[in-house]
């Protein structure tokens, strides 16, 4: 709960601060807090990933970009009315939606009783893997993970295509 409050505070900081370097550092802190919250929520695998990705890779990439571009932001000229409206509209829709959700921490929600239960019950017998996250990730929903690997592949080749110095053709015509 303290963590969540801290996260909100950091977010406010990200909105206010105009020095992009500070923004990147703040978002790194944000990721660490997020990872801690995830541990509280029992998502240890996810927390590990968030810490390495959010606080590690993303920060390195952003700092790299700032190094190649510049580090401060100009004052926006537009009035923030429309963006505020869009963002709040989304928020209201979500608030509306979350009121009907099952209570937090309960064990008898569809999430736990339907597909989730069958993973917990069958994983060890069917795959011999006690970490259910791994068995679901790599076997039951292995196809999603194939897609995920392909996404990384796409992004990797994409960045290389955009940034790597590759041979240029001589223009003819």
């Amino acid at each position: 709960m303290v963590l969540l409050t801290l996260m909100a505070a950091v977010t406010l900081g990200i909105i206010r601060v105009r020095n992009l370097f500070a923004v990147v550092v703040l978002s790194s802190i944000y990721s660490f807090l997020m990872a801690s919250v995830m541990i509280v929520l029992d998502a240890v695998d996810v927390a590990m990933t968030e810490a390495s990705v959010g606080a590690g890779i993303s920060t390195v990439l952003m700092l790299g970009t700032l190094y190649l571009t510049k580090t401060s932001e100009t004052v926006p000229v537009h009035t923030p009315a429309l963006p505020l409206f869009v963002a709040l509209g989304t928020g209201v829709a979500l608030v509306y939606g979350t009121f009907g959700l099952p209570p937090f921490g309960a064990a008898d929600t569809p999430l736990h009783t339907h597909v989730g239960a069958s993973y917990l019950a069958n994983s060890v017998a069917e795959t011999g893997i006690p970490n259910i996250v791994t068995s679901v990730l790599a076997s039951y929903r292995g196809y999603d993970t194939l897609g995920e690997t392909t996404v990384i592949f796409t992004a990797g080749i994409g960045v290389l295509l955009l940034l790597k110095r590759l041979a240029r053709a001589s223009r003819n015509g």
Binding site: M48, V53, L68, S135
Partner: protein, 139 residues
């Protein structure tokens, strides 16, 4: 790149342990948190750390860009290949059950291979992206 000797020595001392930890995360993914993605990121972080401390050029000699860039598709190829192996054993795509003598071992083998594929792609992509960003900044 005139850094303190201590930093260099400490880094050299730490790097093997980081790689060892990556290996642990990779292989222990069945029992504890971790897996191909996390191990790939850690491995990439090792190389990136080396590049930050010892400079880009020596790192690129140690881990050549062409190797890194080949790793990006290679990992996906491993994953796709494991899937296609399912056809050969007469099952649907991505069914690992008959890769070994019984279902459990087949699944374990399949998951291990698939995680290795993820590791290769993730690691390759992270290092390749780091190289291109760093290289872009040099000139």
């Amino acid at each position: 790149m005139r850094l303190d000797v201590i930093v260099r020595v400490t880094t050299k001392f730490f790097l093997p342990f980081m790689l060892l930890f990556a290996l642990y995360v990779q292989l222990h993914g069945d029992f504890g948190p971790g897996g191909g993605f996390q191990a790939g990121v850690i491995t990439a972080a090792t190389v990136i750390l080396y590049a930050i401390i010892f400079g880009l050029a020596p790192t690129m000699r140690l881990v050549p860009p062409i190797v890194v860039e080949s790793m990006v598709p290679l990992g996906v190829l491993i994953f796709l290949g494991v899937g296609i192996a399912g056809f050969v054993t007469g099952d649907n795509y991505l069914n690992y059950s008959h890769l070994a003598h019984d279902q459990v071992h087949g699944q374990e083998l399949g998951v291990m291979l698939v995680e290795a594929g993820v590791l290769v792609t993730v690691c390759g992509t992270m290092i390749a992206i780091f190289y291109t960003f760093a290289d872009r900044g040099r000139s």
